[in-house]
């Protein structure tokens, strides 16, 4: 495969947050929120980033859209390294990469009407105004399933699902190729979540959109994603096609996580692996970051060395000492 097959190609991404202390704030240690993460997303496909709090999934999303400056690594988007783009160019490039936010209410400026909110990117990137912008905004409202009469309304008059549709319309306004979706449905009710998920799916098919889908809800990820990357304390522990992750997971963390999904099925008799402790508090100094909570038969090396990501074919990568041989 050549690079051009991937719309997004993230290589060795690192994001460290400095923690200062000392008399003049001079001593610096680092919180390694994202530590050497690489992945690719082909055009028109969906990659799910899954993990618990502290896994770094949202940080990755914010790095990809450059809300955060990256510490190291490359974010190649259609052969441009976003990580090094100067602000002026970045702001122009933003028409290609858009983000959908976790809390739809908070992501909309309460002092602007829906019409103004969706028209803003049109003005910024195309200098469209008044009638011409309005025409386009109405198209977009229709695309996301809102009505014309919503044009002059304010965000607080809408339900969460509708607000998220407004967010999607704003993102689509300037024809992006990549959408970074940061927990887009976790603030929504189940019945509304289904509507939004379906909308996202229709939009992807119709407009060949590429999604980076960040979520902690494995059910939703299983439904929507083509490939899934599991993150644990800032590192990818397993990445594979969605079927493999859910049917034949290798990594003990993946296995535990899958078994912990509460299936809406009282007859679901799968054996459940209940992990002890908490990810962020059990961060070890060295060795496999998951070792302190791992319920598999650990090896001596687990506490000593960090396992590398090994390839098991068909793009299935696992970082675990229990699987020493790649293909």
């Amino acid at each position: 495969m050549t690079n051009n097959d991937f719309l997004l190609d993230v290589r060795h991404l690192k994001k460290y947050f400095p923690q200062r202390s000392g008399l003049f704030n001079q001593k610096i240690s680092f919180l390694k929120a994202v530590d050497d993460v690489s992945f690719t997303v082909p055009k028109g496909r969906t990659l799910g980033l899954v993990g618990e709090s502290g896994s770094g999934k949202t940080t990755i999303g914010k790095c990809v859209v450059r809300f955060l400056e990256v510490t190291a690594g490359e974010i190649r988007f259609a052969d441009i390294n976003l990580a090094e783009l100067p602000r002026q160019e970045l702001q122009r490039k933003r028409s290609d990469i858009q983000m959908i936010y976790q809390s739809p209410a908070a992501s909309l400026n309460g002092r602007m009407t829906i019409g103004q909110i969706i028209a803003e990117p049109l003005w910024i990137h195309r200098r469209l105004r008044r009638e011409r912008a309005q025409q386009r905004v109405l198209e977009l409202l229709d695309i996301v399933g809102l009505k014309e009469e919503h044009f002059y309304r304010y965000p607080h008059e809408f339900s969460g699902g509708q607000q998220q549709r407004v967010g999607i319309a704003r993102a689509l306004a300037v024809n992006p190729q990549l959408l970074v979706l940061d927990e887009p449905t976790s603030a929504l009710d189940v019945s509304v979540q289904a509507q939004v998920l379906n909308l996202l799916q229709e939009l992807q098919q119709e407009f060949q959109l590429t999604y980076l889908f960040i979520s902690h809800d494995l059910g939703v990820v299983r439904y929507l994603c083509d490939r899934v990357a599991l993150l644990y304390l800032g590192k990818i522990v397993e990445i594979a096609k969605v079927g493999i992750i859910f049917e034949q997971p290798k990594h003990p963390y993946t296995q535990a996580l899958i078994s912990a999904i509460p299936e809406p099925d009282p007859e679901d008799q799968r054996e459940q692996i209940v992990l002890r402790g908490d990810a962020t508090l059990a961060r070890p100094q060295r060795g496999c970051p998951f070792a302190p909570r791992c319920q598999a038969d650990k090896l001596e090396i687990c506490e000593r060395e960090e396992p590398p990501l090994r390839d098991f074919g068909h793009g299935h990568l696992v970082a675990c000492h229990l699987y020493p041989k790649g293909s």
Partner: protein
């Protein structure tokens, strides 16, 4: 079976807002026997938390008020009680835990301080609890020492084994899962007849959620606890509860054993809800949401409040409120589709 532990009949709760009176609960009927683990399911604004707060009489008044209905708890009518009687009632009979373990513990006090107060005030009448400043009295010291011992025991019960060391820590020194365990310990301190758990795992990670659900299941077995588990997550209900009640827009629309509800849902809303959750059997593009959105409770739809979104709506749905009717052993629903059968 004798008197049920909890019997809510035709409960109405209203909230005054700028735009008018919001009819948050409009005739809730709910029954729990001793030892039941009942799941109360519904979406935002369906009134499941309001129902829970009504049982404890913790509805903020004003703007809210219980406008009609009865709540019998072990035979006593709670709504008849004077406000002053409610504090000892809550202390003795109820335990509650809420969604966010971070905000439900007071950040400025040690776990010790908060747990000891929970023990003291739940096990003694409040007049008999000496303040901390009376600590020099031998009787008071004895009482506090006893409470300390009980607090440690509670921590062990909820799975914090090194309680002796950690009890003097502050909430922010605990992880989310641990905080929820502490809160459960506080709720259990008075040996309650009923534990009301309002979305106890919603703010937690999946693996931590599994831990807490396991703990609740264990406590049910160990202590014979009755639990009212309020959640929006059908998976959590399937995993934890024996019975389930589904709420929509201020009413219970279906109540049945868990197995029955998931295999033979009757009410169109319950069916819609079940088909809206992606499971391992759901194929791409097959997920069905429920069209429309939850109704405005200031001016709710007439008749059945679900009728504007219902795929099987009939004429009478907008005219009459469907009664809650028995359609099988322990299975009841309020829908005109089934009340017809009943009438014949």
């Amino acid at each position: 079976m004798g008197t049920p532990l909890l019997d809510i009949q035709d409960l109405h709760v209203e909230f005054r807002t700028f735009d008018g009176v919001s009819k948050v609960l409009a005739g809730v009927n709910l029954r729990m026997e001793r030892g039941d683990v009942l799941g109360l399911v519904g979406e935002t604004g369906c009134g499941k938390s309001m129902t829970a707060l009504s049982i404890a009489r913790l509805i903020p008044t004003p703007p809210g008020r219980i406008s009609a209905g009865r709540i019998h708890f072990a035979g006593e009518d709670i709504l008849e009680k004077a406000p002053a009687e409610m504090q000892p009632f809550r202390a003795r009979h109820l335990g509650m835990i809420f969604q966010d373990p971070t905000t439900n513990l007071n950040p400025l006090f040690t776990i010790h301080e908060q747990l000891i107060d929970a023990v003291l005030y739940q096990r003694h009448r409040s007049q008999r609890v000496p303040g901390k400043w009376k600590g020099f009295l031998p009787s008071a010291r004895q009482l506090r020492r006893e409470a300390h011992r009980q607090a440690l025991e509670l921590l062990k019960t909820v799975g914090i084994p090194d309680g002796r060391r950690r009890i003097f820590d502050y909430p922010h020194q605990f992880s989310g899962g641990m905080r929820q365990r502490v809160l459960i310990a506080m709720a259990l301190a008075g040996d309650p007849d009923l534990l009301i758990a309002d979305e106890p795992t919603t703010a937690l990670d999946v693996t931590i959620q599994a831990q807490i659900l396991l703990l609740i299941t264990d406590l049910v077995k160990q202590l014979g606890l009755s639990v009212l588990l309020i959640t929006h997550n059908l998976g959590v209900v399937a995993k934890t509860c024996e019975k389930v009640a589904v709420m929509y827009a201020g009413r219970v629309i279906e109540q049945s054993p868990v197995q029955e509800l998931f295999t033979h849902p009757k009410h169109p809303y319950t069916r819609g809800l079940l088909s809206a959750v992606p499971t391992k059997r759901t194929r791409r593009g097959e997920l069905r949401g429920i069209p429309g959105m939850i109704p405005n409770l200031i001016d709710p739809p007439s008749g059945c409040r679900f009728h504007p979104r219902c795929p099987k709506v009939m004429d009478r749905c907008s005219q009459q409120v469907p009664p809650l009717v028995q359609i099988g052993p322990d299975h009841s629903t309020s829908c005109h589709l089934y009340s017809e059968h009943h009438d014949e």
